[in-house]
Symmetry: C2
Subunit: 246 residues, 2 copies
Amino acid sequence: MPLPLNLAVLGTAGSGKTTLIRAFGRWMERELGRRVAFINLDPGVERLPFRPSFDLRRHFTVRGLMRRYGLGPNGAMVRASQLLERGAGRFAGEIRKVEAEVRLLDTPGQLEVFLFHGGGRLLSLLDGTTLSLFLLEARTVLDPAGLTLARLLSLSVQLRLGVPTLCVVNKVDQLGGGLEEVLREDLPRLEGIPGMEAELAGRLSSLLREFLPPARLVGVSAKRGEGMERLHDLVQEVFCACGDLT
Amino acid sequence: MPLPLNLAVLGTAGSGKTTLIRAFGRWMERELGRRVAFINLDPGVERLPFRPSFDLRRHFTVRGLMRRYGLGPNGAMVRASQLLERGAGRFAGEIRKVEAEVRLLDTPGQLEVFLFHGGGRLLSLLDGTTLSLFLLEARTVLDPAGLTLARLLSLSVQLRLGVPTLCVVNKVDQLGGGLEEVLREDLPRLEGIPGMEAELAGRLSSLLREFLPPARLVGVSAKRGEGMERLHDLVQEVFCACGDLT
């Protein structure tokens, strides 16, 4: 059995992580005959559209922490972060036992919980190759600052987690076109961003363009299952590059 | 009455936003005789150590949304984001009525709720001058990638919200020294970051150093009330620069 490919899907609340994981997992099973496993690392989710081989909720849930310790939603979230961080080694050990060609990891609804609390350590302890997919909603990349922000955040996620990171723009179905153009253009439209100096804009733009080429960004509609093939091609490309991140 | 200074404090869950707001607000009242108002934009907080002049929880709370719609914590958070976004204009209007020299705005425990859902619009509708303080825990900036990440994220916040952003490193009391050195050094230690090319590291490092000078970063202990004067000096410096962000 070859070493697995771990794909950690990160994104803001409501960006469609769980829906993407289901759609992409099913697509790989159906179209490529891949042996896919679903891993749930979100202690705040209540309904999952797939059966996880590892489920963090067997250890704790946000709702359970609210009840048990009389905490508010914020307090319970912080507590959950601490538990994720402390248990990272143990959880990684359990995930390593999940045999699959591709492991799809769903992360907490609150991006920062994973980013700042043990997520990087957990990923570093997995066997096989690990990539992360940073998911954003299409509408957030359509304003002038959006695309640059998406790229900056992708880069931040990559730095923080220490694994190659692809930027996935979800919910493209909600737009009447326009995204393709933005993505093809690949010129962050930085002019006119408030509080942004022209020179910083230009330099940042060229830096990001050079180091995070357009191929690193893909638009999908997880809900409609669109864009799965392109996403897979991109993942495969980065996977095969084996550490060559350009 | 001069136009107010609005300070929006953003940060990850548990970074100490509320504690900083209280400490900084009290310090400005006591030491400078400023007329300070506290604004709560976090629908998930349960206890506040100050009395807010505007409180988003009068409109909705995360716990209330869980109960009313039978939602889980994640679902309620997403719903809260939507409500914040839709009501941004109205909430800004209410905040404009709060008379003060300094308005301190506490934002949702989940950074991205404010960042991606109407936060920028709300801030743009306020009267006076608006800055944001991006709060991070000291321990997150001590690993090699941490300081660069902090700066990248500050820049992202600034881009997203369209207002000058200072990076505030909180909980410096929890470290046995070391942060001062890191901050003084101001050379993001990028070598050895996994998944980071040497050239990208170097270029990014020099770009960030040039455009986000050390003065833009300050260490505090909100809990002990330390670093308030330096924080105020920095805010004042950026405030007086009136749009000159360097």
